[in-house]
């Protein structure tokens, strides 16, 4: 057997240099996190635009049309960067993760292609008509176009999360030694993967909150400034109701994700909780802790008894395994994986002549083939791995606990804060007291303004927990990330990484500047009869003097 590039790369990775694997991961994380700055707002705001336009078509009141146009302008500024950065996402699996692409394309490619067929075409074709079709379509036709954009956007989230859900929980597929790849055995199972379904509803809810908090914050800013009050109050009413419902669902559905994780990705759950030892059921929840990777323990922890066991298992007597027990369990799978790896070498060196017994050995152990690959950084022949090498490979299945622990807690804290703040604003808007906020509770409006970045922080943390928490796997338990990489040079990946960072940074600065400029300009104030009547009826809704901040 000749040495492959991956052995070489993995060896170098051990010496703590930046190698192609690290740089490719960094580039993927960077481009994905950046793409995910724009996507949640697009997902949520498209629905909010459709809701506002529905109100316009049902009531015929021009103010709702101006709201759609104003929020639509901000939507557009955000949308194009989602499209632009999405281009990279579609192609960089092949660019940087060629072996992964070859290994799983039969399964993973299909949802990506269907995403294009079902979602991207619809979204991209109708979004032009959304902006340019106001005078060319009837009200109802334009409303249908807006809903088409919103539905298509949400469909794209569905398909990409079916693809991602399969990476987290690879159902409906089997490894074929003759084609050296994973192949679909049940397309139905891939589509209705429970992990994918839980992720989809959790992620779109997060998008809805992002848009709601964005609209709430900007409306609060207008109210503090005493500008565009009529549009601000209506926007606030819509955003707080929509946001409150979404905040509740994101927490409940996030809990569903946690439950699925306990069934399928126990290591992810154990690192989120920094739970080193298996505790008697129901396990305690660590509110604060300082996990120590070297010492394999928490330097300190503040616990709430029983809560963890209840959330993750929804029972009083199911035991959640700790990190150390999971590492022990993975040792068995690594030994099995070595047998599978060895049988695979025999098969692929002589696919026609190989005996049925070797194929049978491979079939028996092929579920653990991925664990066999985990030994490659430590030995050229996994079958001869020493106990120390197996121990090291087993511990490589643990992602760094500290960032997992805190990223999760930041996300959850944001989630509960969103419930609180949207509930408060929902109360004020539904009881008709939004003006009272301007008079007596200005601090609440300030909080809404300063909360604008929080949903983005929560979304990025959520991405981190889901994706970093899957490491060292690119396909959970099937293919280590380091094996999936392309055969590129460090220079090539450094060049593109630097290029993406530079290009994306410039575009982000331009985007934020334009966003601020157009928020500053605000919606068109068109004093029609309809507007004037309302202004005189409610004195506070008129252009008030801008109070000193």
């Amino acid at each position: 057997m000749h040495r492959t590039q991956v052995d070489y790369d993995l060896k170098r990775g051990k010496m703590m240099e930046f190698d192609v694997v690290d740089l490719s991961r960094l580039q993927f994380a960077m481009t994905a996190l950046y793409h995910f700055l724009f996507v949640p707002l697009t997902i949520g705001l498209s629905i909010l635009l459709a809701i506002m336009e529905t109100v316009y078509v049902m009531t015929g009141r021009e103010i709702w049309k101006r709201m759609v146009k104003f929020w639509g302008t901000l939507f557009g500024i955000n949308f194009v960067l989602g499209v632009a950065t999405g281009l990279t996402m579609e192609f960089q699996f092949g660019m940087n993760w060629a072996y992964f692409s070859q290994y799983v394309g039969d399964v993973f490619g299909a949802p990506l292609a269907i995403e294009g067929l079902m979602a991207f075409f619809m979204e991209a074709t109708f979004v032009g008509l959304f902006f340019f079709g106001w005078d060319k379509l009837s009200r109802r036709q334009h409303l249908a176009v807006t809903w088409a954009v919103a539905i298509a956007t949400n469909f794209s989230a569905l398909w990409i999360l079916i693809a991602n859900g399969w990476m987290q929980h690879p159902v409906g597929s089997i490894f074929n030694p003759d084609t050296m790849r994973m192949e679909v055995s049940s397309f139905y199972d891939v589509l209705f993967n429970p992990v994918a379904q839980a992720k989809f509803v959790h992620t779109v809810s997060a998008g809805y909150i992002t848009a709601a908090m964005f609209m709430l914050g900007i409306s609060a800013w207008y109210m503090l400034q005493g500008r565009h009050l009529r549009i601000a109050k209506r926007s606030m009413a819509i955003a707080s109701a929509f946001g409150f419902a979404s905040a509740l669902s994101v927490v409940v559905l996030g809990d569903e994700s946690g439950y699925e994780a306990n069934l399928n990705q126990q290591m992810k759950l154990a690192t989120i909780e920094a739970m080193w030892e298996t505790e008697p059921a129901p396990a305690a929840f660590n509110v604060v802790a300082w996990p120590d990777m070297e010492g394999r323990d928490n330097l300190f922890a503040i616990e709430v008894p029983y809560v963890m066991g209840l959330i993750a298992t929804r029972s009083l007597d199911t035991v959640i395994p700790g990190i150390k027990d999971l590492v022990e369990r993975s040792k068995d799978r690594i030994r099995q994986g070595a047998i599978a790896w060895d049988a695979l070498q025999t098969i692929r060196n002589d696919p026609q002549g190989v005996g049925e017994d070797v194929r049978a050995t491979f079939a028996r152990n092929s579920d653990s083939l991925g664990y066999g690959y985990l030994l490659l950084p430590y030995t050229d022949n996994p079958m001869e791995a020493t106990a120390e090498q197996i121990d090291a490979a087993a511990w490589s299945t643990v992602p760094n606990v500290l960032p997992m622990f805190y990223a999760f807690r930041i996300m959850v804290a944001c989630g509960f804060f969103f419930i609180l703040i949207t509930a408060v604003f929902f109360y004020y808007s539904s009881s008709g007291q939004l003006d009272k906020l301007r008079e007596k509770r200005r601090w609440l409006l300030h909080i809404a303004v300063w909360s604008i970045p929080l949903p983005w922080i929560a979304c990025e943390m959520g991405w981190f927990v889901a994706e970093y928490g899957r490491q060292p796997w690119i396909i959970e338990s099937m293919l280590p990330t380091a094996v999936g990489v392309s055969s590129l040079s460090v220079t090539e990946v450094l060049l593109t990484l630097a290029g993406f960072v530079a290009l994306y940074s410039v575009l982000l600065v331009i985007e934020i500047t334009l966003m601020i400029k157009y928020i500053g300009i605000g919606p068109d104030e068109d004093e029609t009869a309809d507007d004037a009547r309302e202004t005189s009826a409610r004195p506070l809704a008129g252009p008030a003097p801008v109070p000193a901040e």
């Binding site: 492959t4 590039q5 499209v83 070859q102 995403e115 074709t125 032009g128 050296m180």
Partner: protein, 385 residues
């Protein structure tokens, strides 16, 4: 009997080879004129209002057109996983250049009109040019390299190593293909502008399109000459071919030889229709662009794009990505596809959604159809790009 066995594996591979062609041609025919228009923009329109006219002929619809490119990426991933893996990681830096350029395009369309500052607008005009010209050139260069064979090897794990460099992509023949691609798309974009704009812009577009069609004829003929005389060597499978084989590219023997890319025409003379339609489209555009038959010229221009891309496909069949340094590792229609089951499932999805896409795309074009001129821009000053 399971459902997917309704269609034979080899037939499905054939269908997906045709669909790959449909996607690439769909991309070149629709987003092609967007790229042509973007390439022409700084040269064909001087004042801001003229440039806005040019941009707004494609402003509302280019985004849907670009999805053909994204869909091609996804469909290649699903139907031809090794092609997706080898081509994009092999052409790594070239792909980065294409992506970086294409990323500028959506941003340029949207942000250009957000500030009146001339320097701001001029910068975005050049971003649009870059986002149009660079991909048009690099796609052509990439096709040239595919015809020449790409320097990659596969080991028995089917892990690919690439033995070329970014600058190695630019040879005499591949540059010729790159320039043919640019000429073809500039011609196509010019024809589009003749249809959708008027006055000075349309007049300049007629001239640019005529020149581009002329170059297209010369370059297409020269390319054909180089391939038919054996200056560019083709590839041929020498071992027995089993179209129903499992997809492992290492199970065959391949040789390189001059004239191999002409063998399909000798075996099936009907295939001469592909280059024939290409030439007919180019010549028809060249001759008729000065007349008022705008829709007819557009049909000729589309035929040229169709014929030129189809020529590449049928010349190489069954090869889709030959390897110049390990010919037996070349990817062919028969050994580089997904499984029988996946090809069938994806065909069902395509059969459902592609007709729907075509219907709503046609409706959107119909709603937005009409000449764009300086008056329409001034009337829609706020909404237009």
């Amino acid at each position: 009997m399971v459902l997917y066995e309704l269609i034979d594996y080899s037939t499905l591979k054939m269908i997906w080879w045709l669909l790959l062609g449909v996607l690439l041609i769909g991309f070149a025919v629709t987003d092609g004129f967007d790229m042509g228009v973007g390439t022409l923009l700084p040269f064909i329109a001087g004042t801001d209002i003229e440039r806005r006219v040019v941009i707004n002929t494609i402003g509302a619809t280019w985004e849907g057109n670009q999805v053909w490119f994204i869909l091609a990426g996804g469909a290649i991933f699903a139907a031809w996983p090794p092609l997706y893996a080898i081509s994009f990681s092999g052409f790594y830096l070239a792909m980065f250049v294409v992506l970086a350029a294409m990323i500028l395009r959506p941003v340029a369309f949207k942000y250009r009109s957000k500030r009146p500052d001339p320097a701001w607008r001029n910068a975005w005009d050049w971003a649009l040019f870059t986002g149009s010209f660079v991909p048009a050139l690099v796609f052509g260069v990439a096709v040239g390299n595919v015809l020449l064979g790409v320097p990659y090897k596969l080991d028995t794990d089917l892990r690919m190593t690439y033995d070329g460099s970014f600058f190695g992509l630019f040879s005499l023949f591949s540059l010729l293909c790159g320039l043919l691609s640019v000429s073809m798309l500039v011609m196509h974009g010019s024809v589009w502008l003749v249809m959708r704009a008027s006055g000075d812009i349309a007049r300049r577009a007629r001239r640019a399109g005529t020149v581009a069609a002329g170059f297209g004829i010369l370059l297409f003929a020269l390319g054909g000459y180089l391939v038919s005389t054996g200056f560019v060597e083709g590839f041929r499978i020498t071992s027995e071919v089993n179209p129903n084989m499992v997809a492992n590219p290492l199970a065959k023997q391949v040789v390189t030889e001059g004239g191999a890319w002409m063998r399909n025409y000798a075996a099936h003379p009907i295939l001469w229709l592909a280059p024939g339609i290409g030439f007919l489209g180019l010549v028809g555009t060249l001759l008729l662009l000065q007349t008022r038959l705008e829709m007819l010229v557009f049909a000729f221009s589309k035929s040229a794009v169709f014929g030129i891309i189809a020529t590449v496909g049928v010349s190489m069949f069954p090869f889709i990505l030959p390897s110049s340094i390990q010919p037996e590792a070349s990817l062919t229609v028969w050994d580089a596809s997904s499984t029988h089951r996946t090809l069938f499932n994806m065909l069902v999805a395509t059969a459902i959604f592609l007709p729907i896409i075509l219907v709503y795309t046609a409706w959107v074009y119909k709603v937005l159809w009409g000449k764009v001129d300086e008056e329409t821009i001034e009337r829609d000053n706020h909404t237009a790009y």
